[in-house]
């Protein structure tokens, strides 16, 4: 059984870990100015919505080119957002989102995402 790519995995770890660790391990992070701390408090909402929006609105083809995508996934994510905002229940929101996509694909309104 090949283990050649284990070395690559270790190298990928070596460049990934610092991005995860620098904020948590660097000394003095707790002495940041208030403005910096206030900024960091807003990173969560900003980056999570960016991830969600990019995930459902942007598609990348085999050549790496990006394009704007409109699909039933928008509706599913919007439904989840509405349910969480209304009921504060993420799990219910996820179930509804999945149900919308499954039904849409079953009746041919939406295709499977490219793998």
């Amino acid at each position: 059984m090949s283990v050649e790519l284990v070395g690559l995995a270790v190298l990928m770890f070596a460049v990934t870990y610092p991005t995860r660790a620098v904020g948590l391990l660097a000394p003095g992070m707790e002495r940041m100015p208030k403005l910096a701390l206030a900024y960091l408090q807003l990173v969560g909402p900003a980056i999570l919505t960016a991830i969600a929006a990019v995930s459902v609105m942007v598609r990348t083809d085999d050549t790496g080119a990006t394009s704007f995508y409109i699909g039933v996934e928008w509706l599913a994510v919007a439904a989840c957002l509405a349910i969480v905002a209304w009921r504060r229940n993420l799990f219910l929101g996820l179930i509804v989102a999945v149900a919308i996509v499954v039904v849409a694909r079953a009746v041919g309104l939406s295709a499977l995402p490219p793998s």
Partner: protein, 300 residues
């Protein structure tokens, strides 16, 4: 590993949690567990598809598992499968991995004020387990309770993500095509839906709302012009900057962290979270000129 502590985050790290505090933490943990179910389902689906992709690209089970264990970053792992299949040299793959995972810098910095009292070695382990999902689940949990809860982080990082991801990778790379594509069950929509749902929980005022909207808009615009990775990082950087432009006096923080309003906002009814006259803990970076927290409310 010693028992993870529930330590107050700010401003007084030596304060002893009260019975009410413990109740709030327990309720928030239950909510965290429920949210983790959805995240775990997503991790299982994507992990399985990753395992399938790795198998198709010629990875052995050991190699695929090494990626999931050491790298533990879904986007980078999927990209690596494509790079390997296309014959890209290792140095280029490593460089692209570093760029792809750059957003973790933001997560790490944002969590730093919450985890500053956790012992160094445990923080070092936490860092390896820091993913989109772990960040989203744990920051929401910390903000609900207005303090650090180390156990909550482990639930999010290990229980909801690391274990499901690795088990699913193993299943995908060993079982191959014997199991239907999870995307046919709508698994692919769980991740973006979970991210937006968890973001909703972090929006407690106009600043957060502005940061969220701008982050999404900038993210999509930049992603279309460059790549999804760059777009997400740009959204994460620009959104907060725009949010800070909203003056504190009009930010309308409706649910200061750790306050009864915050607890109610996050659907933990049935308790009086903060006793009358007791000051709620402030968040890291709390603005002194924000409106005063609402008076404690009775059970709903």
């Amino acid at each position: 590993m010693t028992e993870p502590s529930v330590s107050p985050a700010l401003p007084d790290p030596t304060a002893v949690p009260t019975a009410d505090d413990a109740t709030v933490v327990d309720e928030s943990r239950r909510r965290l567990l429920t949210e983790s179910l959805g995240i775990a389902a997503s991790a299982i689906g994507f992990g399985f598809v990753y395992g399938l992709s790795a198998r198709d690209a010629g990875f052995s089970p050991i190699e695929a598992m090494a990626m999931s264990t050491f790298v533990f970053a879904g986007a980078a792992q999927f990209a690596a499968v494509g790079y390997i299949a296309s014959g890209l040299p290792w140095p280029a793959i490593v460089l692209l991995t570093a760029l792809l995972n750059g957003r973790h810098l933001l997560y790490s910095a944002a969590l730093a004020p919450w985890l500053r009292h956790v012992p160094f070695v445990r923080r070092a382990v936490m860092a390896h387990l820091l993913t989109d999902e772990a960040f989203a689940l744990s920051i929401g949990h910390f903000r609900r309770i207005g303090r650090t809860d180390e156990r909550g982080y482990w639930i999010a990082a290990v229980g909801a993500t690391f274990i499901p991801w690795n088990l699913a990778t193993f299943a995908g790379v060993t079982l191959g095509g014997q199991i239907p594509d999870p995307n046919s069950f709508g698994i692919d929509v769980i991740f973006p839906a979970a991210m937006i749902g968890l973001a909703v929980g972090l929006i407690t005022g106009r600043r957060e709302l502005a940061a969220a909207i701008v982050g999404a808009g900038v993210g999509v615009a930049v992603a279309l012009l460059t790549s999804p990775t760059v777009g997400i990082i740009a959204g994460g950087l620009v959104g907060p900057a725009v949010g800070l432009l909203i003056p504190a006096r009009v930010a309308h923080e409706t649910a200061p962290l750790g306050s009864p309003a915050s607890a109610d906002r996050y659907s933990m009814p049935g308790r009086t979270r903060w006793r009358s006259g007791q000051e709620p803990p402030t968040e890291p970076g709390a603005q002194p000129d924000r409106p005063a927290p609402a008076e404690p409310e009775e059970d709903r």
